[in-house]
């Protein structure tokens, strides 16, 4: 199988990630933060080392403000539901993933007012328009660093500067960029970074991260055992325990810890450059095929290694199915949980076929994907 669906989850993991998870399972692990015997302390050490590495990756400054969740969606729900209050106004964009949109719509039902920035024909959000959208009661801007469908990247430094000057929160959905693009919380002033551990961070599924800036503390989404303050009726105030009710996924976090080491040694910039080179090679070949429509801003200087396309008016599901059944190429079809992207391009029924590349892919695999598309395009003539 040629796996070109890395925007959904990274299929290839560094061997040391698998080894770390195996070791945690094979050698046993205690329950982090629950007691003081050797096994539980070892688990706490693994979890803490992972916090330190994530904190270093995002330049958040304080490992205690790295909260572990199960995925980016949970992180976003904690940030959105825990920071917004009835009467607040929140700004987002029309092209967000449902992991941003649905928590926002839920908050709208609870009395939060929403505003959405539109996109231009290339799927770019005019981030400069944020300043004009800010009201007296605007509490936060929530948006993704890069579109999960189009690969277009937003200027988060500009957004962060506007938020900083206006004294409002900036919640960043980094699901598509954590581990691919630099994110510097300390320098830019991002309030919260939300991401999964299993995409470009190259860790196991079931791991997620919510990284909070100093002074930003959402109300907990879930409450329960915390290992401290056991006689209190409420969750403890101190982070990260305040937002981590219940047992952590220590086995998964052991893998994420190893993945962070890999990212540090191999280099985030190198991973981005190598995966982008493959994506750009693919784009250069397929965008000249008559029947193929490529979506997004292909002229952008920087994009994530994601390419969404259609073959004429063919169903995206049908194309993806043929790519897999006939050519062994795994892609993602359909709506990609991003309804606004499809409204923008009128592809609500057709969907789009998304190819997403990793530095673990090879030139040969890209060549085979290009050839397969040429065959399918030819057959539609």
């Amino acid at each position: 199988m040629i796996y070109l669906d890395h925007a959904a989850t990274s299929f290839h993991k560094p061997p040391e990630v698998a080894a770390a998870v195996f070791s945690a399972l094979q050698n046993g692990t205690g329950n982090s933060g629950r007691g003081a015997h050797g096994a539980t302390l070892d688990a706490s050490r693994v979890v803490h080392r992972t916090r330190e590495k994530i904190s270093r990756l995002f330049r958040s400054g304080d490992p205690a403000r790295v909260v572990f969740t199960t995925n980016a969606t949970e992180s976003l729900n904690i940030a959105v539901q825990g920071l917004l209050k009835p009467g607040d106004h929140c700004i987002s964009t029309e092209l967000e993933h449902n992991s941003v949109l649905r928590p926002l719509f839920l908050m709208e039902e609870r009395g939060v007012q929403l505003g959405f920035l539109p996109a231009d024909a290339k799927g770019n959000i005019v981030t400069a328009a944020i300043a004009a959208s800010i009201r007296e009661n605007t509490r936060a801007v929530v948006l993704s660093h890069a579109s999960n469908v189009l690969g277009n990247i937003r200027d988060i430094e500009q957004v962060a500067a506007v938020c900083r000057e206006s004294g409002i929160l900036f919640i960043l959905d980094a699901a598509q960029t954590a581990g691919l693009l630099p994110i510097n919380m300390a320098q830019s002033g991002i309030s919260a970074v939300c991401c999964s551990g299993h995409k470009s961070l190259l860790g196991p599924q079931g791991t997620g991260v919510l990284c909070l800036a100093a002074g930003v503390q959402p109300d907990p989404l879930k409450v329960g055992g915390s290992g401290v303050d056991s006689f209190s009726r409420r969750m403890p105030d101190a982070l990260p325990a305040a937002l981590e009710a219940g047992t952590l996924n220590t086995h998964g976090l052991a893998g994420l810890c190893a993945a962070c080491d890999y990212l540090e040694h191999y280099g985030v910039a190198r991973i981005f450059a190598e995966s982008s080179r493959l994506a750009n090679k693919f784009i250069a070949e397929v965008q000249d095929i008559d029947e193929i429509i490529v979506y997004g801003d292909m002229a952008a200087r920087v994009r994530t290694p994601v390419v969404a396309l259609n073959i004429a008016s063919c169903d995206s599901a049908e194309v993806a199915d043929e790519l897999f059944e006939r050519f062994g190429i795994a892609t993602r079809a359909g709506a990609h949980c991003a309804p606004g992207v499809h409204r923008l391009y009128g592809t609500e029924r057709q969907g789009m076929v998304r190819f997403s590349f990793s530095h673990f892919n090879t030139d040969c695999e890209v060549d085979q994907a290009i050839s397969a598309l040429k065959v399918l395009a030819e057959e539609t003539r």
């Binding site: 073959i311 063919c314 169903d315 995206s316 599901a317 049908e318 194309v319 993806a320 199915d321 043929e322 079809a333 359909g334 709506a335 990609h336 949980c337 609500e348 029924r349 057709q350 969907g351 399918l376 057959e379 539609t380």
Partner: protein, 78 residues
């Protein structure tokens, strides 16, 4: 692209329902497979079971016999 043919397609409300269907399909003599939900049926994404139209009776028998949860049976050119 493949030549379209009339197919019996079972749609599901969840991935769990699709997996449950697939696990039991062979025992009922079905020869189809899981496919992405065709947008011609619904644009909401998800999974469906594609079965040879001639096997519609087997599909109906399976759904009638088991306690399988599904959304609908469609007959579409895909």
């Amino acid at each position: 692209m493949r030549i379209k043919a009339l197919q019996c397609v079972v749609t599901f409300r969840s991935t769990t329902d699709a997996m449950e269907f697939e696990a039991r399909a062979a025992a009922f003599g079905l020869s189809g497979r899981i496919i992405p939900l065709p947008p011609v049926i619904d644009a909401g994404c998800g999974l469906a079971w594609k079965e040879d139209e001639a096997n519609t009776g087997l599909v109906e028998k399976m759904l009638a016999a088991g306690q399988l949860s599904y959304d609908k049976i469609c007959h579409v050119m895909i």
